[in-house]
């Protein structure tokens, strides 16, 4: 990376992090809402663990994977809304008048998502463990969970950037939130794939990548180290990031029409 590009990425990352830290309205819901749902679900569905074939006797441990996904969905909204606001206010034009490179803009903008992802992952994991969840993979597994969570947060954040660049509208970005939540609900969020009895639901959840991201977290929480589950989870996370960044880069070229 050249010195100029490093400076650009660094400065935009600094701005992105400052913006994130100065907007409690971005951080607090992303922390509180998933933990609230975790409390409700682990309390209300704990008898589910009696089903034959349920992988653990602690529904809290099983459900702890879900906040990491919900937190990633918040990153779509936060990263996308921030960029859409830059477009709406003309701040992107200000940046376009500098020798800024597109790669620096996208990378810098995602720095805020990295920080938010870290804060979220550490909080969810700490609260979950304090509340009695198990972590079969031990301390090393905790680091991997945080790493996977940050990867997914950044990956989904890049989708938010794409949406912002494509539409230029914060409202349009926010309208994606329910759509992504539908993806979450049509996954193995509440039950393991093999216990989903309804055919159509099982079929959708089986092809929904979110199910496999959840399974990667669950493997570390419930089983210990499962290379296949982790490879699939990290693979999907990397694929989302690569596809999201490629789409965002293409949209940036259209949005940033400077000669």
């Amino acid at each position: 990376m050249s010195g100029a590009l490093r400076t650009q990425v660094g400065q935009l990352a600094r701005r992105s992090v400052l913006r994130t830290l100065r907007q409690p309205a971005q951080i607090v819901p992303a922390l509180i809402f998933p933990l609230f749902l975790l409390a409700v679900n682990s309390g209300g569905l704990k008898d589910t663990t009696n089903l034959p074939g349920f992988p653990t006797d602690s529904y809290l441990t099983f459900a702890l994977a879900v906040p990491f996904m919900q937190g990633a969905l918040f990153s779509v909204m936060n990263a996308g809304t921030d960029l859409a606001r830059d477009i709406e206010t003309g701040f992107l034009n200000r940046l376009a008048l500098t020798p800024l490179r597109g790669a620096a803009l996208l990378s810098g903008l995602l720095a805020g998502a990295v920080v938010l992802g870290l804060v979220q992952a550490i909080t969810y994991l700490t609260v979950g463990l304090v509340a009695g969840a198990e972590l079969a993979a031990g301390v090393g597994g905790a680091f991997v969970i945080v790493g996977l969570s940050v990867l997914i947060t950044v990956g989904f954040g890049s989708v938010g950037l794409f949406a912002a660049l494509r539409t230029g509208s914060g409202e349009a970005v926010q309208s994606l939130f329910p759509v992504f939540f539908v993806f979450l609900f049509l996954s193995s969020m509440a039950l393991p794939l093999e216990l989903l009895q309804t055919d159509w639901f099982h079929a959708i959840a089986s092809v929904n990548p979110v199910s496999y991201l959840l399974q990667a977290f669950r493997s570390l929480l419930i089983e210990g180290w499962n290379a296949a589950d982790l490879a699939l989870g990290f693979g999907i996370g990397i694929a989302v990031l690569v596809l999201g960044m490629a789409a965002a880069s293409a949209a940036l070229k259209t949005r940033l029409v400077r000669t």
């Binding site: 100029a4 400076t7 650009q8 660094g10 400065q11 935009l12 600094r14 701005r15 400052l18 913006r19 100065r22 907007q23 830059d86 206010t89 003309g90 701040f91 034009n93 200000r94 940046l95 376009a96 008048l97 500098t98 020798p99 800024l100 029409v257 400077r258 000669t259």
Partner: protein
């Protein structure tokens, strides 16, 4: 090298030609005022000249560089404060400076010093560490100007820099722009819808309407070309206003006047003033106040387009409302 524009056109999809073949030339170190109502094509022109919008046709060179084929070199030579003060409300003035100086590639050791120098120059040193969200409109505009100057541009584009500002903030900004041109030799391309702003600041003025430049020259030249002063009178008896207006209109078309008064543009120039007084006297109309106004840039706009600048803005707003309703009902 200043700005050279030939036959510049910008046509939007399913829309009118926002800019319809304009030619202009701005000399280095000159302040050029680009005057016109909302929707006339001023901002579209600025976006093309700053390389942020591709022209549909025509050519333009800014600081000697072609705006289409040499975009990066154009951007390195210019600074721009576009129509809205594009600032991040969550960052402080100093943080904006830090970001802008770094993105423009100033050496690390110079960034803080250059930022402080510009913050002081625009009178924001005291507020430098406050978040911009708490700045007034005038402070935001001054910060916007300072940010446009971080890399010492040779040409500065200011798109309606004083719109919405109070008189004090407006005057402060005018002083700074005038100083930039006079002391630093910066070429300034200034769009405005304020006649006074163009008259006060600009060495030359181009008047644009519906995408066409309808007049160009120094403010004095343009006014002299029109050459018709306005006579305005207020009768002692308010009931005589209609008769007063009828008398004045014998000398030229009516013009805007203060409440209770009437005005007309004198077709025969100042020399007709004595005739006006005699006519009023012979009609027995007692006058409380009589004034002769020199031609203004609004008179120039009226002469060239058949509308006054203020009337043109209302017309544009009405057209925009009608367009909005049409879209809404579609």
């Amino acid at each position: 090298m200043g700005i050279e524009v030939e036959g510049l056109v910008r046509e939007f999809k399913n829309g009118p030609r926002a800019v319809d073949g304009i030619d202009l030339r701005v000399e280095a170190g000159e302040i050029y005022g680009f005057l016109g109502p909302n929707g006339a094509g001023k901002s579209t022109t600025v976006l093309m000249l700053t390389t942020l919008l591709l022209p549909t046709a025509g050519t333009a060179r800014v600081a000697g560089f072609d705006i289409v084929s040499e975009g990066p070199r154009v951007r390195a030579s210019i600074g721009a404060a576009l129509q809205e003060a594009a600032l991040d409300p969550l960052l402080s003035g100093r943080e904006h400076m830090r970001l802008q100086t770094a993105l423009h590639g100033l050496p690390k050791g110079e960034r803080a010093e250059r930022g402080q120098e510009l913050l002081e120059r625009v009178g924001l040193a005291q507020a430098a560490d406050r978040k911009v969200g708490g700045y007034s409109g005038g402070m935001k505009r001054r910060l916007d100007l300072a940010l446009a100057l971080v890399h010492r541009p040779r040409i500065l584009f200011l798109d309606e820099p004083t719109t919405g500002l109070d008189i004090q903030s407006r005057t402060a900004l005018w002083d700074e722009v005038a100083r930039l041109a006079a002391e630093d030799g910066v070429t300034v391309f200034l769009t405005t819808q304020y006649l006074e702003e163009a008259d006060t600041l600009a060495a030359r003025v181009g008047i644009i309407d519906h995408g066409h430049i309808v007049a160009e020259g120094t403010p004095a030249e343009l006014k002299a070309e029109i050459g018709r002063p306005t006579v305005e009178a207020v009768p002692q008896d308010a009931g005589e206003r209609e008769r007063l207006a009828a008398v004045l209109e014998r000398f030229g078309p009516g013009a805007g006047a203060a409440p209770g008064g009437a005005a007309a543009r004198l077709e025969g120039g100042e020399a007709e003033l004595a005739e006006v007084v005699r006519a009023l006297d012979s009609e027995g109309i007692a006058i409380e106040r009589l004034q002769l106004h020199a031609p203004s840039l609004d008179d120039v706009f009226l002469a060239k387009t058949g509308r006054s600048l203020e009337g043109a803005e209302e017309e544009v707003e009405e057209a925009e409302e009608a367009a909005g309703e049409a879209v809404g009902s579609a």
